[in-house]
Symmetry: C2
Subunit: 217 residues, 2 copies
Amino acid sequence: MDFQGCFPIWNKLTPAQQELVLNSLATRKVSKGNIVHNGNMECTGLLAVKYGQLRVYILSEEGREITICRLFDMDLCVLSAACIIQSLQFEIMIEAEKDTEVWIIPPMVYKKLMEESAPVANYTNELMATHFSDVMWLMEQIMWKSMDKRVAAFLLEECAIEGTNTLKLTHETIANHLGTHREVVTRMLRYFQSDGLVALSRGTVEITDSKKLEAMQ
Amino acid sequence: MDFQGCFPIWNKLTPAQQELVLNSLATRKVSKGNIVHNGNMECTGLLAVKYGQLRVYILSEEGREITICRLFDMDLCVLSAACIIQSLQFEIMIEAEKDTEVWIIPPMVYKKLMEESAPVANYTNELMATHFSDVMWLMEQIMWKSMDKRVAAFLLEECAIEGTNTLKLTHETIANHLGTHREVVTRMLRYFQSDGLVALSRGTVEITDSKKLEAMQ
């Protein structure tokens, strides 16, 4: 798979624009657990995931986290290029959840494309709207859903991503995804365990009754 | 003031595009308290506020509300045109907080402009990024700030908007802005009152010590 295949409007670029992209395109390998983009220090550019898994999250001054969205194979991200969209006034972090390789279009190259090409500008709009919709979904979860439902939904999502019912996850990691404290997650998981929904062991959460967990959401 | 003055990229439109906008531009007067845009039923188009004050909010299935942002004179809003940006997958409500007049560019006209013109598409990007940044700010408030600080910040914001320290506001209205329950607001305001920060009477919150309220934020 090459970059062209993951950039849906590749054919709407002029030959000169295609050449510009290919000549400036960088690839970067990031090992699991490492930071790909650090909000307040960088303007990385447009990211495209060749393979792997990334987590986009925000960080509070006190070091608390909440996951905004995840990026999988072939996903693109424009939030890592905030310097080229003046009104994008917030900072995000991106870390690799698995060993990942990304393509990067440098910010100034992408900016030039957006300025020249209505299709690129409109596609960027769609990308931003996708991130925005993820955040609005999350906001609705936070505002109107109780934490037990959010933990249940998160565990089921993880099972779908990993293709297994035995998740290698600490309570701290779950708390950082959901923007809560470890103690809250621990209490919830123990409650789930007493209800027969999960079985807990060190660093592992095994889903033992996914139907009941689904019904909770 | 005319529409041209409130659309920053007016001079980047071709004469034909300018004519198209002027021929399709609608104006609408909305009285205080009425709905301008109803998420799940309409695609209103691009909104520009001629004068007045609008509140953009989301609504839960149970009827709970939270304010996303406010629009004042000369502000533009693209969230009311979700039908022309495919990936904008959430629904918002807009109501008039004061008697308001808006200009509306119909969605299909604005879509045509975005497709033809990179400046329009990029400007739309900036508009969306502004709304997105408002929501991220709000998310950080919800996640990391306690409700007393959010109520304090809201009261100070209202004083700045209204130009007075005596606010005509019910506890229910404050709760709907902040996405919480009336009882929570009532408890908080009584606590503020006992601390000498506000004086409460029916339908009114008077700020009696704004310095102390500012220090709370």
